[in-house]
Amino acid sequence: MALLEVHGLTKRFGGLVALRDVDLIIEESNIAALIGPNGAGKTTLFNILTGLYRADQGKIRFQSRSLSGSSPDQITRAGICRTFQNIRLFGEMTVLENVLVGMHSRIPLSLSDVLFRASRLRAEERQATAKAMELLGLVGLQGSEGVWARQLSYGEQRRLEVARALASQPRLLLLDEPSAGMNPSEAQVLMSLLRNLVGTHVRSILLIEHNMRVVMGISDRVTVLDHGEKIAEGTPDEVRIDARVIEAYLGRGKWAGHAQG
């Protein structure tokens, strides 16, 4: 049984068709990559999957349940969480608080517990903090929990976004260009981190990525979008030699193997 099934997804902005009849299946314990030239509709697909946009047509099933019409917080609770291409952290909150916000949907909340500082809530908060610290350790941010997120370096901010997304205990993690702006050795660290996440923290990962070394290095399956349509799908090796993919990239004067983010 696939973790996520998307059928016939279409999204229009005025006259522009951002996605046309896109199908996508993500299996359990998989790292899937979504690639394609700029403007291919990759981030739009993420925005629809997380409920920020509403699709004009199509079905989304996650763990055999329909997600059509769900609100973003319902989707997060159902187990899909994401990072953003242009980092969107809570700048004037501490690193730890950023991760704790990610846990919002996992902390049972009642107003009376908050107002009377119930021991139940205190215990939940203690657990949440411990969990958050563990996640910060996982992404290599231990020791920075007390500083404001906006004071972190670019690479650290990217990693904090991953930790924050993991905090919501997603089954499917969506990463929008996680290696953007990283040097090769940082990208290497990221790849091993992502490999370790599958099976331990998340069931599957779907990433948008321009860095082909990362895509080819860790993906089990690659889906290629161009002008809002799916033009190819398969293992990295299959996609690498697909004529339409090469054309989509070469048509814009980019070498598929060396395209960068």
């Binding site: 973003p72 916000v101 107003l111 809530l121 929990e145």
Partner: protein, 426 residues
């Protein structure tokens, strides 16, 4: 021992300034210095217990004592307390969640009119039976009703408008407050609900339920002397409750969700924060604080009319929050104190001083400029009437030079950084 040094220094400062206040009645500067002791306590590197005992000494012992000797100080302290409470309420909406509410005074008005109407003869105008004014004890019931009414109107206003962009939200809340004021002003017909521009008086004050105890202790105070003290402690208790509730909300998932919305609403949504609910909650909490203070205000003033609930009040409270630092509880307290003293005392003092100059008949002769008869200072020029200029200047200067305010939220101050052990509430 460093601690000993600080403790003694602080105690000395407090003692000295109280002496100053005592020996210079109605001196603005003496009172300001005295008030500043609270700031010193806040900043002093002392233990929590020491800070608490110093604060208690200042607020529970010294302030009432000085206030009994000179009722003027008590009046100022009560006014400051009222504005601190309002600023704390607005701080939740503007400071924590980042929603600019320009109509905050509407909720204050709703609380005030709620008690004014039923705690006076006014309700007889539209309800049969002549049950009004309600007995004094009902004041406490209406304090709770005020909280509920504030929360309810906050939600009713919030439901349709919270989806709007920030700047539109600001204008809509401003429009809402103007509508409320217009209604209060005009609902003396067809049914006389609010008595219109004439206002409502007399409004019941809370009962002196402790009077037998005071008399038993051998004092024979009259109500006129007791009520200022009574209101002072009522305001203090209300403030304490408000601060407690605010802190608990701030240091909970709710507070984190609020700040996340302020920092990046889209990211907050993506992290599973139910944004609309959280905004509604902030609107409701802020509004309920304001309405509770309104109930108290009506009882203290005995008389209210629509003049007390103008747009300027909303902006004044906003200036307080901005001056202190948006999103900071100590900031809101500082801002409210400074602005209220500025308004109540400094400007009035300046007006009196100018008046004195006018009557002195002194003629200034300045080289090159010729002589200037001080009695010629136009009578219309009264600094006390220039509140708007003060609010305006504060707001512009703060936005340009120090948008985070004077006591911005401390980094990591609201979250415990250790994983081990329960450190309890700070």
């Amino acid at each position: 021992m460093k601690n000993w040094f600080f403790n003694a220094g602080l105690a000395g400062y407090i003692g000295l300034t109280s002496l100053l206040v005592y020996s210079f009645p109605r001196s603005v500067s003496a009172f300001l210095l005295f008030e500043a002791s609270l700031l010193l306590i806040y900043y002093a590197p002392l233990s929590r217990a020491a800070k608490l005992s110093f604060t208690a000494a200042v607020l529970i012992v010294l302030m009432p004592l000085l206030g009994t000797l000179d009722g003027y100080y008590l009046e100022v302290a009560i006014q400051i307390g009222i504005f601190v409470a309002l600023a704390l309420g607005l701080n939740i909406v503007v400071g924590f969640v980042g929603l600019l509410n320009l109509g905050f005074v509407a909720f204050y008005a709703i609380g005030a009119y709620l008690w004014a109407i039923f705690g006076s003869h006014q309700a007889n105008a539209f309800l049969p039976g002549g049950y009004f004014p309600l007995g004094q004890a009902w004041f406490f019931v209406f304090l709770l009703l005020g909280i509920a009414a504030g929360a309810l109107t906050g939600i009713l206003l919030g439901l349709p408008v919270l989806r709007l962009r920030g700047d539109y939200l600001a204008i809509v809340t401003l429009g809402f407050a103007e509508v409320v004021r217009a209604l209060v002003n005009n609902l003396d017909k067809p049914i006389n609900l609010t008595n219109g521009p004439k206002g409502i008086t007399p409004i019941q004050r809370p009962p002196l339920f402790f009077q037998p105890l005071v008399e038993f202790l051998g004092f024979k105070p009259d109500a006129a002397a007791l009520y200022p003290l009574y209101f002072y402690f009522l305001v203090l208790i209300l403030l304490l409750a408000i601060i407690l509730v605010t802190r608990r909300l701030e240091n909970s998932p709710v507070g984190r969700a609020w700040k996340a919305i302020r920092e990046d609403e889209i990211a907050a949504v993506a992290m599973g924060v139910p944004v609309v609910w959280m905004k509604l909650l902030a609107f409701a909490v802020g509004a309920s604080f304001a309405a509770a203070v309104g109930v108290l205000f009506a009882a203290k003033q005995v008389f209210i009319n629509p003049e007390s609930f103008t747009f300027m009040e909303s902006i004044g409270v906003l200036a307080m929050v901005i001056l202190g630092g948006m999103g900071s509880i100590p900031g809101a307290i500082l801002g409210a104190t400074v602005v209220t003293i500025l308004n109540l005392q400094l400007l009035k003092g300046l007006s009196l001083w100018l008046n004195g100059l006018r009557q002195s008949g002194i003629i200034l002769s300045l080289p090159l400029l010729g002589s200037f008869d001080l009695s010629q200072i136009p009578a219309q020029f009264e600094p006390a009437k220039y509140e708007r200029m003060v609010f305006g200047l504060i707001i512009i200067l703060m936005m340009i030079f120090r948008p985070q305010g004077f006591l911005p939220p401390r980094q990591g101050g609201s979250t415990k950084l250790t994983t081990g052990g329960d450190t309890g509430e700070k």
